[in-house]
Amino acid sequence: MVFLQIAAKDLRSELRTKESLNASLSFAVVILLLFSFAFDPSSEAVAEFSGGLLWLVFAFAGALILNRSFARELPNDCLEVLIASPVSGAQLFLGKTIASFVLLLIIEVICLPIFGIFYDITWLPQALPLLGIFALGTWGMTVLGTLFSALTVNLSLRELMLPMLLYPLMLPALMAAMRLTTILLAGNAIGGGDIVWLRLLIGFDIIFTALSLALVETILVR
């Protein structure tokens, strides 16, 4: 379970410095606040795009967390020492993905009540299924984001490159998560024809997790 030790190390480092956590959380809250001024929170239209709005915020805030995933290893050449250790690329990747997943989920759980207040949306009765969709969507985002974080870690423009690579590729997962979140925030259950979105989200997570685990070793050792 070396990947859990890597995840614990990353979480401990981040909770001590709070570098990406603070930046990501403040960014998410500011976007939520600004959008609440742009739209009339009482209008029915808000319910229709609530899921989309929430996931846009998560995607923007997520990029700040994901950028730090491998960049955290750059000071003191820690990445070299990790790659030279017996830890496989897949274990290193999995540990880093889990750490980013936990951090992003913390941001999302904090943002949800704030979103509810700003946009006058009742989310509490759907809290559990919402958390499930958040977990599935966030896993897809962190898997892909961590892979691109490894790919761009040595680039000077990595802060720009990561979102440019990440957002287009995660569109299927993002669309599914947006749709499912909107259904739940409207107070409905996921069923009937909407199941296809849930399948898409789960399929995306499985495919990109497998693909990333297979590719990461080649990315790390050039």
Partner: protein, 232 residues
């Protein structure tokens, strides 16, 4: 005949069209210590990165203990001390060593032993960012030796070390050599390197222009290798 600890066989490496390493071959056995010398940009660090499994060779083969450097079994037996210290500033000294002990599958109690050996036990619970440069370097040495590696790969290990860290590292390297460990180090500190080395390799513009046992002439005059085998 036993398999060498480290075997480099006709290795090439290119950065774009630039040949960083050109047909490099040599091997080392247990208890041997190689001083890899050469000017800046000659290819020493590239060679060491390939040996440590951080980079792949374009052609040729590298084998550590009979395996590819990317095999976990080979990496478990390597101790790497590169340009960076390879420890986390935001974690404490003991946390740093405990993490690496876990990654190498050795007991966490070894971490405390190495803090004592490097005279850092009194700051075990202090974050590394509060350490002086010398203390950080000693922690890096502890990290590299933590799992009792059979092969030590050291990239300019004496550069920027304070007197105390140099003495500590020299002592540990001499001890490792006596215990049959294999050492390969790139360095510009010729005198320190020659005292320890059993073999010397000179690399120039990616080519290995000399590889052989260290002779008494090299020990008496460390520039002898450059003058005798190097380009003018």
């Amino acid at each position: 005949m036993p398999e060498p600890v480290l075997a480099v066989d006709h290795v090439y490496k290119y950065f774009g069209d630039y040949p960083a390493l050109h047909d490099v071959s040599f091997s080392l056995n247990g208890g041997e210590c190689l001083a890899l010398i050469g000017r800046n940009g000659a290819g020493k660090t590239t060679m060491l990165k390939i040996l440590a499994g951080l980079s792949g060779a374009a052609q040729g083969e590298v084998r550590l203990f009979g395996d590819s450097p990317r095999q976990a079994s080979a990496r478990r037996r390597i101790g790497l001390l590169g340009h960076g210290i390879g420890v986390y500033d935001e974690l404490t000294a003991i946390e740093n060593l405990t993490i690496f002990a876990q990654l190498y599958g050795v007991s966490a109690t070894v971490a405390r032993h190495w803090l004592e050996r490097t005279q850092l036990a009194h700051v075990a619970n202090a974050p590394v960012r509060e350490f002086s440069r010398g203390m950080r370097q000693r922690l890096a040495v502890a990290r590299a030796f933590l799992h009792d590696p059979a092969l030590l790969i050291l990239d300019e290990p004496f550069t920027a070390l304070d007197d105390r860290a140099i003495a500590l590292l020299q002592g540990l390297l001499a001890e490792a050599k006596a215990a049959g460990r294999t050492i390969i180090m790139s360095t510009h500190q010729l005198r320190e390197a020659m005292e320890l080395a059993t073999h010397v390799a000179l690399i120039e513009r990616g080519k290995l222009v000399h590889f052989g046992e260290r002779t008494p002439e090299m020990l008496a005059d460390p520039t002898y290798v450059y003058r005798t085998f190097g380009a003018a």
